[in-house]
């Protein structure tokens, strides 16, 4: 029989993606779990496996095309089908052109199992189907959580907001060719995602950036001392650990603000994202439950995840669920910089290159290794004084790591 293979769910809130590669062609036989499509969504490349053993009869998408979850990707004829020998297939009336859209629309309907428990009138359930909203995810505002028409509409709008972030109105670019030669290149999916995400974050969050200095002379000696050939300790895993402890002490930094619901969500978990520079652009893998890991374990995990990030092998799930982000440009340069917050987080720590500075200690200047850390924070939920205390605590802990044990 012919299996209509539709794009399956790729992850939380991921409703579409761009086809980057189709490693198969019509007539190829594939095994279940063989990759038949590569999709780029939210900066991750996802390999989509075949759901069945069979022969590919039709490919309904093209490289570069943006496709939605539930959209028909390809038709696969499964083995042992009563399917027709060549002659018989011809005898069949060709399916009319209307087939494809019918299938596509059907796919948008949520499965009824999920709809079974929620309280919503049949007309509201139909509205949800038409808007491709999974009604089981909608929060009802009626009595006993009954879902009303406006709840579905609000939810549908909400999804759209989180999806492509609002495009910021922009003046038309001037005609550059009047001044010289140019080359126009389409934005890749990753670049487009970064652009949208950062524009939205900058647009929505009132950013303020603080700077503070940490004397890391002693710390560098310690890190060097405990480095081995297998595990070169840098300051990043150490700062990841400090950041998790700081989030515990300053819960406003481990929070997300929801202006629509007029709520602040305080997270009780401590996942720290680390910005990694890759060929395709910036990605932010998340190290989970940092509070339960020691610095060696964090260092190993960071090394492994950075390697996979550069090889473009991160999953979407690995880039979600962060509470706070660290971006370290120290390997390259910078004396200090003001990073943009990785929405929906509340703050981000910028780490530049450390440098020798004359520091006035005991009535004389002595050379010390100094790091000018920066902290961009969401001023809607974090006040300036609190941010100063937060950044000071991080600097002090870098200088006196014992604080990690005493206060962290």
């Amino acid at each position: 029989m012919i299996t209509e293979f539709k794009l399956p769910e790729l992850g939380e809130n991921i409703l579409s993606g761009t086809v980057v590669k189709i490693p198969v062609k019509t007539g190829d036989s594939v095994k279940k779990e063989d990759t038949v499509l590569e999709i780029e969504a939210s900066k991750a490349t996802i390999e989509v496996p075949s759901p069945v053993d069979g022969i590919i009869r039709e490919i309904a998408v093209q490289e570069g095309q943006e496709i939605k979850v539930g959209q028909l990707i390809m038709k696969i004829q499964t083995e042992g089908a009563k399917g027709a020998p060549e002659g018989k297939t011809e005898a069949k009336a060709p399916p009319p052109a209307q087939h494809a859209p019918i299938r596509e629309e059907k796919a948008a309907a949520p499965p009824p199992e999920t709809a079974e428990e929620v309280a919503a009138a049949p007309s509201v359930r139909r509205l949800a189907r038409e808007r491709a909203v999974d009604i089981s995810k909608v929060k009802g505002s009626g009595p006993a959580g009954r879902i009303l028409e406006e709840d579905v509409i609000a939810y549908a709008r909400g999804i759209k907001k989180e999806q492509p972030a609002p495009e910021i109105q922009q003046e038309l670019l001037p005609d550059f060719t009047q001044w010289g030669e140019i080359e126009c290149v389409p934005m890749g999916a990753t670049r487009l995602h970064i652009a949208r995400h950062l524009s939205a974050a900058w647009h929505v969050i009132p950013h303020v950036t603080h700077f503070d200095k940490a004397d890391i002379t002693e710390l560098e000696i310690t890190l060097k001392k405990y480095s081995t050939r297998e595990r070169a300790l840098t300051i990043t895993p150490f700062l990841i650990k400090i950041a998790a402890s700081a989030l515990k002490l300053f819960p406003h930094f481990n929070a997300s603000v929801d202006m629509r619901k007029r709520e602040i969500a305080y997270k009780k978990y401590f996942n720290i994202g680390v910005a990694v520079d890759t060929e395709k652009g910036l990605v932010v893998p998340v190290i989970r439950d940092v509070d339960k890991k020691n610095i060696f374990a964090i260092a190993d995990e960071l090394k492994e995840v950075s390697k996979r990030a550069r090889a473009n092998k991160l999953t979407i799930a690995e880039m979600q669920g962060g509470c706070f982000t660290i971006t370290n440009l120290g390997g390259i340069g910078c004396t200090s910089f003001a990073p943009i917050i990785h929405w929906p987080e509340a703050a981000i720590l910028g780490v530049p290159r450390s440098r020798w500075e004359p520091v006035y200690i005991d009535k004389q200047f002595v050379p010390r290794k100094v790091l000018t850390l920066s902290l961009s924070f969401d001023h809607r939920i974090i006040d300036g004084a609190e941010a100063a205390r937060f950044l000071r605590w991080i600097c002090q802990t870098a200088e006196q790591p014992l604080l990690l044990e005493m206060e962290g």
Binding site: E105, P111, P143
Partner: protein, 464 residues
């Protein structure tokens, strides 16, 4: 689009698809649309049940001072009236079909592949029809009893509705809704009716508090109701049948009957349709496997109604037919009912919808129950039918209505309020706060809801 079978599912699908602009061919063996429901099921049986209700009501009228005497039954005229009802309704459907310019073909259809069908007409003429999409609405047929031979004394639901004569002694095999409805008809028309049922109660699967009320009344009118009993042998015997019955204790009895009605269930019509030439798959029970849009595993073939799964009910088929047609026309429809109502048209009637108590226990769903006895209903008293009650099955925390079960005279007309309440996600308080007209039986739903939220008007429940 091609629709195979013109029962309540098939014709609803065909009409909807035509209204949405598709070119529709409807294939059925009967002269007009209607299917089992209109020709050999719901409609003729309800016509006869109406007649039997007149008989019982007029008999019971003697108790309130009006004696009509013994009714004189003209079986031929009754048959003609019933057939006239069927003819009128099905002819009306034929007209509705023609006005929508649906191509109606009379004959037996068989799939040649996923895009064409061969239809054999009643006169042997054959034609081949190609289609883009097909909806299978081939319905179901009665299950036969292996031990009963093909005798004209052994009836099924179809031949029982023909009302050839009124047997003196009638054995009904199967205490399900068809057996009990036809038993009620024959009983009121003068037959002595005995029922055997394998299960320990009538209407297996139905909440036993509902069936208890019916059982109590049937026990007064039927000759006998034998539960946990099976028929092991049926023989022809001197102008009648001799049935061997085996009870739970293994005790065997032999009894003489003039006729026997076998009503032990229905089986989907999925054989002989050439479905093996398509990619549509069957379940182990012989139903076509379908998704929420009612598409089978063959993307060009949908299935609805009895052949697409339980419950085998006309109104479920009609709804599915509309879902399939809308879906095939590009609309976003899905079959996702919260409450499919069931009505047993016995006397008293039994009706329920949503989650039953039996099902809630089986699925381990938390629930509470409130019951309002019809003995406390003014309306029930004025119609002299206090045998009944109205039950709500509620979520224990929110009071949301999960199910409604009613037994009582004419309660089939009351159940729809329960369906609306469940589909809308209503709570007991919503029903309690809606003013119901007095004096009607519908008040029993409101009063039952009052009991859930605290204090009823006509039923005093001491507060614990």
């Amino acid at each position: 689009m091609l629709v195979l079978g013109a029962g309540p599912g098939g014709y609803a699908a065909a009409f909807m698809a035509a209204d949405l602009g598709l070119a529709v061919t409807l294939v059925d063996e009967e002269i007009n649309p209607g299917g089992v429901c209109l020709f050999r099921g719901c409609i003729p049986s309800k016509a006869l049940l109406h007649a039997s209700k007149l008989i019982s009501d007029s008999r019971e009228a003697a108790g309130i001072g009006i004696d009509f005497g013994k009714p004189v039954i003209d079986l031929k005229k009754l048959r003609e009236w019933k057939d006239h009802v069927v003819q009128k309704l099905t002819a009306g459907l034929g007209q509705l079909c023609a006005r929508r310019t649906i191509h109606y073909i009379r004959g037996h259809g068989r799939f040649l592949d996923s895009g064409s069908m061969e239809v054999k007409g009643s006169e042997g003429a054959e034609q081949k029809i190609s289609f883009d999409h097909a909806i299978v609405a081939s319905g179901s047929k009665p299950v036969t009893l292996p031990v009963a031979s093909a005798s004209r004394r052994v009836l099924d639901s179809t031949s029982a509705l023909n009302l050839e004569d009124i047997p003196g002694q009638l054995l009904i095999v199967g205490g399900g809704y068809i057996g009990l409805e036809m038993g009620t008809v024959y009983c009121e028309l003068g037959a002595e009716v005995s029922v055997v049922e394998m299960a320990p109660n009538l209407l297996p699967g139905t909440d036993s508090d509902l069936t208890d009320v019916l059982h109590a009344r049937l026990a007064r009118h039927f000759k006998s109701i034998m539960l946990t009993t099976r028929v092991t042998k049926v023989e022809e015997e001197g102008g009648g049948l001799r049935a061997t019955l085996q009870g739970q204790d293994g005790k065997i009895s032999r009894q003489h009957f003039d006729k026997m009605l076998v009503a032990i269930g229905r089986t989907p019509n999925s054989k002989g349709l050439g479905l093996e030439n398509t990619d549509a798959e069957l379940t182990p029970d012989g139903f076509l496997r379908v998704d929420p849009q009612r598409a089978t595993t063959d993307p060009r073939i949908h299935a609805i109604g009895d052949v697409a799964g339980e419950p085998m009910l006309a109104h479920k088929a009609t709804h599915e037919g509309r879902v399939a047609a809308i879906s095939l026309s590009g609309g976003k429809a899905a079959f996702e009912p919260r409450a499919i109502p069931s009505v047993i048209f016995t006397n008293p009637e039994i009706a329920w919808c949503g989650v039953t108590e039996t099902e809630a226990r089986k699925r381990n769903i938390r629930f509470t129950i409130t019951k309002f006895p019809w003995a406390a209903s003014g309306r029930a008293a004025t119609i002299n039918r206090m045998d009944g009650f109205t039950k709500l099955i509620l979520h224990p925390d929110t009071g949301r209505i999960l199910g409604v079960g009613i037994v009582g005279d004419g309660c089939g007309e009351l159940i729809s309020e329960g369906v609306v309440a469940i589909e809308m996600g209503a709570r007991a308080s919503d029903l309690e706060l809606c003013i119901h007209p007095h004096p009607t039986l519908s008040e029993t739903i409101m009063e039952s809801a009052q009991l859930a939220t605290g204090y009823g008007t006509h039923f005093f429940k001491p507060q614990s």
